[in-house]
C-alpha cells in the first residue's frame, strides 16, 4: 500500500506563468518517457523479479516515480495558474481547455492522451530491467530538451533535480542487471 506524505520530494515555486513551457512539460506527465509511464512500468515488473534485490529496487524506484508525477503536476499547475483564455489559445492549449478546463490530464506535448503501450514489460527480467535503463535515458534526454527551452530558474531547478534522478536510477538498474547476468552465468 501507499501512504501520502504532505510534501513534494523537491520544492516547486514557480512565480511566472508560462503556458508554452507547460505544454512542453506535459510530456513528462503523460508522454512516452514521462513519470507516469515509468512509475507504472516499474511497479508492474516487480512480480517476476527473481529475488528480493529486484523486488525492492523496483518498488522503491517505482514509488519515487509517483513522487515525480506529483512534482511535474505541481509544475503544470503553477505554470498554468490564472492563465487567460487568450494565453491558452496562443500557447495552443485551447483544445486542452475545451476538453478538460483547468484540470490536469495526462497527455504528451501534442495533446495525445497517455497510452498504456508506453509501458514496456516483456516477462523476462533482464529484458525488463534493460527497458528500464532505456526509459531512464530517454527521460534524462527529455529533461535536457526541456531545460534547453527555458531560462527561468524556478523551472530549471526542479527539471535539473528530476534529470539527475534519472541518472541515479539508471545506475541502480544497471547494477541490478549486471548482478542478475552474473548470477545467470554462475
Amino acid at each position: 500500500m501507499w501512504k501520502y506524505e504532505k510534501k513534494l520530494q523537491y520544492p516547486v515555486n514557480i512565480k511566472k506563468k508560462n503556458l508554452k513551457m507547460a505544454k512542453c512539460i506535459l510530456t513528462q506527465y503523460g508522454g512516452p518517457a514521462g513519470e507516469l509511464a515509468a512509475a507504472w512500468q516499474y511497479l508492474d515488473q516487480r512480480y517476476i523479479m527473481p529475488d528480493d534485490r529486484g523486488k525492492a529496487l523496483l518498488t522503491d524506484i517505482g514509488t519515487e516515480e509517483l513522487a515525480h508525477v506529483e512534482i511535474i503536476s505541481a509544475m503544470l499547475y503553477q505554470l498554468m495558474k490564472d492563465a487567460t483564455k487568450e494565453e491558452l489559445k496562443e500557447a495552443g492549449l485551447d483544445g486542452q481547455y475545451a476538453q478538460f478546463g483547468m484540470d490536469l490530464f495526462p497527455s504528451d506535448s501534442f495533446g495525445n492522451p497517455f497510452n498504456m503501450t508506453y509501458i514496456k514489460v516483456a516477462g523476462d527480467y533482464i529484458a525488463d530491467i534493460e527497458s528500464n535503463m532505456g526509459a531512464e535515458q530517454r527521460a534524462r534526454a527529455t529533461y535536457e530538451h526541456l531545460m534547453d527551452l527555458t531560462d527561468d530558474p524556478d523551472i530549471l531547478a526542479p527539471l535539473s533535480f528530476l534529470r539527475e534522478r534519472e541518472i541515479v536510477h539508471y545506475q541502480r538498474f544497471k547494477e541490478l542487471r549486471d548482478y542478475y547476468l552474473k548470477m545467470k552465468t554462475r
Binding site: 501512504k3 506524505e5 510534501k7 513534494l8 520544492p11 522503491d60 505541481a74 529533461y143 539527475e164
Partner: protein, 168 residues
Amino acid sequence: MNNYINNMFPNEFMMAYPEAIKPGNVNELSMKLSKQAGDNMNFNKCGFDGKINPDNLYDVYNGFIRGNMFPNLFNQYKLSRPYDVKGDNERNELLNKVNAYCFAAHDLNLYLDTHPDDKAMIDLYNEFSADSKKIINEYESKFGPIFVNSNEGYPWSWNNEPWPWENR
C-alpha cells in the same frame, strides 16, 4: 571539515543552515549535520560497481540540491552549478530540511537495494533515517501534519493549507 561545504558554496550553506555553522549553538541535529559532512569523508563506497570508488558522499544539503548523494554519479547539464533551495519563511526553511534528510535517506535506500551487504552505508542510512524522523517531528509540532496519523488536537488539522503543489 567537508570539502564541498568549504570550497563550493559556503555562503549558501550558511544561509540554508545557519545554526549548523554558528559557533556555540548546541542544537544537536545541526551539530550533527556539519559533523556528518566530515564523517562522510570516510566513506569510499559509492561506486559504479560497488568496489572501485574514489569519492565521498555529499553532505545532506549538497546532495539534496543536486538530486544525488553520490559525487561520482553526479552529472550537470546546462547549469554551471546547482540551484540553492531556500525557504523565504520558517516553515519553508524547515520543510527544506525535512526534504533534504528524507532525500539523503532515500538515495541511500536505493543504493542499499543493490548493495545490501554494505555495513557502513547501512549505518549511515540509519542515521539519516533517525535524523529525518526528528526533523519531521519538529516540523509537525510547529506547522501541522506531514503524515495524517500525526494529526493532533482539535479541530482536524490535516486538511489545512498549504497543499504541497501550491506556490508558497
